[in-house]
Amino acid sequence: MEKRETMWESYRRRGLSRRTFIKGCVALTSLMGLSSGMVSKVVEAAETKQLPVVIWIHGHECTGCDESFIRSAAPLASDLILNNVALEYDHLLSAGSGEPFEEHLEKTIQAYNGKYILAVEGAVATKGSGIYCMSGGHPFLETLQRAAKGAAAIIAYGTCAVSGGIQSAAPNPTGSAGIGHFIGAKDVVNVPGCPPIPEVMTGVVMHVALFGKLPPLDSQGRPKQFYGNRIHDTCYRRPFFDAGLFADSYDDAGSKAGWCLYKLGCRGPETYNSCGNIRWFQGMSYPVQSGAPCIGCANANFWNQGPFSDRLPKYGPLGDIDKIGAGLAVATTAGVAAHGVLSVYQRSRRDAEAAESDEVKGGEDK
């Protein structure tokens, strides 16, 4: 195995000064949402840890996650993949292809056994032993399991890798699922989103690259720093929600004024993501800011929770549960009223019968 250089060495090699290096570390510290007291730790990590190797594999996916990754502005994707990690295998960007490329994967897995970061984009197709997602002549499932074995850390990029994504939506024709069940007892960093925000994706790699360990995760394996808030709780339209000011329809006065999109089906109250705080393209926008209700794209199973235009599912002409419930309430009231009338009738007959039998057996009681 070749000696791998540290981030500090790579700065030196490029003739960059110690000052530039420290500045880079400071930027990274804030990027990773760490307090400034952590700078020295970041510096230390960058000085002493070797450049980590990243292997990026693709299952059932749309490459939207890769595309998002290369849109990262801080760190720039170019800086990340040419300076801070060694991206040894990636179907989207790697130069090689075919057999030599597959051999390179094997060699990398062996050479860096127990040390590389495995990034997984896409779901696992499980039906038919994996024949619906083949690459290099064998199922993606096999590649995943082989690569997972020696990985130091596994990152599941995007809703597809985390929980199955679009192809696992009903009726899930290929039996697709998130990678969680197929990688043994390894820890996974789940980075959901369809796709995730670019800086969220690169931020996770930076953390692992510098600290040599996974970022703090929540109970669902998501980095707390990026998935610690619901969009609803960080949404710039929240004051309008609280005030009861809603867009009732697309393009109405409320929507032009930027009022809350709750009534148009917004999933912000159910969705953990950084859309409300980091936003897309460094604060430029997020669906809600562009007038589109959130569809909850960072949630497991969100594809089966349509229609997206309503907060409650509608059952054709029956309407939603409120309409059905009100109907049932009316029907129940009518039912109990009828029952009451019948009960009165039953009692009067019963009393009459009792009176009759009293008369008949009148003598016995006395």
């Binding site: 619901r230 929600f241 009861g244 969705t271 929770q305 409120d322 419930g325 309430a329 019948l342 039953q346």
Partner: protein, 256 residues
């Protein structure tokens, strides 16, 4: 007019009764505010700069009442501990329970002229268990939604599993909303049944939830469920009073 002897049973402790009425009020408020949360009414809107934050206010009422409701449940638990009448549960594990259920059901379906007398009939017993289950679902789903503003807090961890088990917060919200309607359907049926029992069957149901006592014209089959040891026959006789005319046929359907 023929005088009929009626027996008075002390069934519900004040703790249960107070809880019951808090529950009635809470559920009505929670239901109305809940529906308004899903579909905020137009009249709620105010300029955000104005101080009264309307949907915010509705939500806060919902949450406050939810907490009051939860706190009141402690009353119920206390009553449950000190008074046997507060724990009239369905005896699923006893054969006669099913025979009695059939008896009551047949009566409600007008296939029997009357059912036997009970302190709390087996159908009612089951329906209250169902209600408590529904309320529990509301609590768990409600708090799962409410607390997730801080997903990493300790209190949240007590409820976060709900979202996972149900398959996501969106489902939690559906479940919370659907179950609210089932509770309302229960309430309609329940109110009817207690009024019916009061006026049709001569069982002083409604008043029992105020006074705690049930005044029955017939000897209840489930009498043992309330303090049978404390009552010897003499005591019991003392409590017979003449309160009016009634029916004196008791069909023994019990199995024990």
């Amino acid at each position: 007019m023929k005088k009929v002897q009626r027996e008075i049973f002390y069934v519900f402790s004040p703790f249960l009764r107070v809880f019951h009425w808090i529950m009635v009020a809470s559920i009505i408020i929670l239901f109305v505010t809940g529906l308004l949360i899903t579909k905020p009414a137009g009249i709620l809107a105010t300029e955000p700069t104005a101080t009264s934050m309307s949907v915010d206010l509705i939500r806060n009422i919902h949450f406050t009442v939810a907490y009051i409701f939860l706190a009141a449940f402690i009353l119920k638990v206390y009553g449950f501990i000190i008074n046997k009448g507060d724990r009239l549960f369905p005896h699923f594990w006893r054969g006669y329970f099913y025979a009695q259920t059939v008896d009551v059901a047949l009566h409600y379906m007008f296939l029997r002229n009357e059912h036997a007398s009970y302190l709390r009939n087996p159908l009612a017993r089951s329906s209250y268990v169902l209600l408590y289950v529904l309320v529990a679902i509301e609590f768990f789903t409600g708090f799962a939604m409410y607390l997730m503003t801080e997903p990493d807090a300790f209190s949240t961890q007590l409820f976060a599993w709900v979202n996972v088990v149900l398959g996501g917060e969106m489902i939690t919200h559906y479940v919370h909303h659907y179950v609210a309607w089932f509770i309302i359907l229960f309430a309609i049926g329940h109110i009817y049944m207690v009024i019916r029992a009061e006026f049709m069957e001569g069982e002083s149901e409604v008043s029992s939830m105020f006074a705690g006592t049930k005044i029955l014209a017939h000897h209840p089959l489930d009498e043992d469920d309330v303090d049978p040891d404390e009552l010897d026959n003499a005591d019991r006789l003392k409590r017979w009073t003449n309160v009016g005319e009634g029916i004196s046929k008791i069909r023994n359907v019990g199995g024990n």
